[in-house]
Symmetry: C2
Subunit: 207 residues, 2 copies
DNA sequence: GTAAGCATATTGTCTGACAACCAGACAATG
DNA sequence: CATTGTCTGGTTGTCAGACAATATGCTTAC
């Protein structure tokens, strides 16, 4: 088997850099990102910038209209609701598919999440949280589920970063996910699905 | 209200043209599409070609590796199974959300499908079929569901075009979708979901 | 104060170019 | 004979510069 080693292209690297900046909250929603500016800032040609922007637009992090600069997407409550509406069936599919299996990667992410110091930035918490869900999805082994979930994940992450009020207590978040992983790992499919439903229901209805 | 008129960009137009050619079966899977060739053929610059190819790659119609020409995706049976695996929960979500509603656009698509002459190309049949499902998804009113389903739809369409053996009889296809629309339009959510399940189960298990 | 018109900035697209890289063939080496 | 090194042709990745189309904001005239 050939191991996939990852030579990053300029486009990929730039997309990563921008994604990180947006997801860390460094760039506020509504901020415009003119191509020329990015081109000068990162020392790459404008076509490269255009491609990188296209990637982020596809991921839902940026919006672009004809002849207007790309700008960081605003995340409204309606967007979050819609996101959850679509995420739910995919999360349920993931959970039921994995029922009876313990996913090592997800456990590891949970451990990292629990070990995070109390004063760690909230965006780190969000990152581990998403890594956990991502690990579950990957474990299912469906390339398309992975792709679809990836699209939602980035947007969800943006939403979580900006609307941090949902989980006031981090321990609750950790405990909840421990329950989820336990339910998936040991329970029958139906129990796993219910655990997902319970998880998603928490904290999203109070808006 | 201002009607959104669609000034098509060169990129969009080229993407459309290529998509049409691939989905009509004109270009076989595995065919390579060198950028230079397309650039000369359509009289647009290579960056424009690159962007259009990026769109199609994202849709799953084309594959691209580093420093190799893009080529039309091969659709294996495993791909179709995976596609169905992911489509099912989204179709169920669509059906249950719409339960009790009659979707005019979907009915119209069904009518067009039924009115298709017996010697019409199979790809036309597929096109109307996808239009029907698309109409249902759009009626739900969730932009993200629409986006996600759109990604799957293009790939599904490619699969259907290339593996036409599934439905030997066109009338069966029409009748089945009439049942589906009826179940959604009149039935409670649970009945709608079952109709979807039945619809998806048909003809995909026999591989 | 409002509306029309102009100036500016930004994107959409093009041209041309060069370096990086893959694939295959072929020679050299053990 | 098998493996490795090297070359070559073709294609992509990226760059630089340019121009037209268009949206935005400001200025001016009424």
């Amino acid at each position: 088997m050939t191991l996939p080693l990852h030579p990053v292209s300029a486009v990929g690297a730039l997309a990563d850099a921008l994604r990180r900046r947006v997801l860390s909250g460094e760039i506020d929603p509504g901020t415009t990102l003119p191509e020329q500016e990015l081109s000068a800032l990162y020392g790459v040609a404008r076509p490269t910038v255009r491609e990188a922007l296209a990637v982020l637009v596809h991921e839902g992090l940026l919006r672009r209209e004809r002849h207007r600069s790309a700008q960081v997407a605003e995340v409204t409550v309606a967007d979050l609701d819609d996101l959850m509406f679509v995420r739910r069936p995919l999360e349920e599919l993931t959970a039921t598919s994995l029922a009876g299996r313990r996913v090592g990667e997800a456990d590891a992410a949970l451990a990292r999440m629990a070990a995070l110091p109390a004063d760690a930035p909230w965006s780190d918490m969000v990152a581990e949280h998403m890594a956990l869900h991502q690990a579950l999805v990957v474990a299912v082994g469906s390339p398309r589920l992975e792709r679809l979930y990836g699209m939602l994940a980035v947007e969800t992450r943006l939403g979580l970063v900006r609307l941090r009020a949902v989980y006031s207590d981090r321990h609750v978040l950790v405990a909840e996910h421990r329950n989820l992983l336990d339910a998936i790992g040991s329970g029958p499919a139906e129990a796993a699905r219910e655990a997902v439903a319970a998880h998603l229901d928490h904290g999203w209805g109070d808006h």
